[in-house]
């Protein structure tokens, strides 16, 4: 038990350091991936999404649309819990890598949701002209759910499935 606790703490520390120092580079990659997908939303006028410090700065290129700054590091810190949980039981590298892939995909999706939610709800008249009430509620609800519980639920789900070769429980 103490060994597992130590591994958990070491995993959390490693996850935190990775999250802290890799965020600017990671945000750049996330921004690029999210911007590619957001090209399909013509309201955002072909956006660019570049990392600035720990944020992602969204800048539409093809027409005059407000810019947005997304605190993207607040969408990705679930990697700390992922590292901590998988560190508790070593020798599960493949499952850890697969889980990282799943979590990275959700990071891209959560950045897209966050960008859409920001444009749908924080740009006053522009928002109400371009997003219906239903869309505004949908984007902000999804973002709220994701930030409060979803981002940890996905980590828990990955870890839970990774235990499948062991007996039920943990």
């Amino acid at each position: 038990m103490p060994l597992r606790a130590l591994r958990f703490i070491a995993g959390a520390a490693a996850g935190f350091l990775f999250w802290w120092y890799a965020t600017p580079v990671y945000n750049d990659a996330l921004g690029a991936a999210a911007a590619q997908i957001l090209q399909i939303d013509k309201r955002l006028c072909g956006p660019r999404a570049d990392a600035i410090d720990r944020n992602v700065f969204v800048q539409p290129r093809l027409c005059v649309v407000p810019t947005a700054t997304i605190p993207a590091d607040q969408l990705t810190y679930n990697i700390i819990l992922l590292a901590a949980l998988f560190a508790m039981r070593g020798r599960n590298i493949l499952a850890f890598i697969a889980s990282c892939v799943v979590v990275i995909v959700t990071h891209v999706l959560s950045l897209i949701v966050s960008i859409e939610s920001t444009y749908a709800n924080t740009n006053g008249v522009w928002s109400t002209q371009h997003y219906s009430l239903f869309e505004r509620q949908l984007w902000i609800s999804t973002e709220f759910f994701w930030r409060l519980a979803g981002m940890f639920a996905i980590v828990f789900a990955c870890w839970w499935i990774a235990q499948s070769s062991r007996k039920p429980g943990v």
């Binding site: 959390a12 935190f16 901590a84 409060l148 940890f152 429980g169």
Partner: protein, 161 residues
């Protein structure tokens, strides 16, 4: 393996059913805010006991050096619901579930009280660290508490069955 996917499906549905109502005004007014106010009062008392001069008004704790407003996401409610969803989704007896829910809620609220209190101290004395502690560190600790509690409980529940 199949039972694990079934568990996850049940968990996801219950989580959505429990968490989404938090977006509504009545849930905020009658559940989240009273809980946040109670946490602010308890945290204010704890801060007073360790020598911090604070004033608590509703969900806000203020001092000359710092102030915090305890909102959704900081009252432990979403973590409690996360744990309850996991406990209810897991195959166990009603008695086991009830006990796990009560103990889990107590544990999460205890950890959350330490969180709010320590965050106030960090905000007061090391303002630059506040944001990192607020989200990355403490949010991870609170959810890790829920996940580890559930893991330990589910192992025991299976062993007893």
């Amino acid at each position: 393996m199949r039972s694990r996917w079934t568990f996850l499906l049940r968990f996801a549905v219950l989580l959505a059913v429990f968490e989404l109502p938090l977006l509504t005004d009545p849930a905020d007014r009658y559940v989240a805010r009273p809980l946040s106010s109670s946490i602010a009062a308890a945290s204010g008392a704890l801060l007073g006991a360790i020598g911090e001069r604070v004033i608590v008004r509703g969900t806000i704790i203020t001092a000359p050096c710092f102030a915090v407003d305890i909102q959704n996401g900081c009252n432990g409610l979403e973590t409690m619901l996360f744990l309850v969803a996991a406990v209810l989704a897991f195959p166990a007896t009603a008695r086991q579930r009830l006990l796990a829910t009560l103990l889990g809620i107590l544990l999460i609220q205890a950890v959350n009280l330490v969180r709010v209190t320590s965050l106030f101290v960090v905000g007061c004395h090391r303002r630059a660290w506040f944001e990192s502690f607020h989200l990355a560190i403490w949010q991870t600790i609170v959810f890790a508490t829920a996940v580890l509690f559930f893991a330990a409980w589910s192992r025991r529940a299976v062993a007893r069955a």
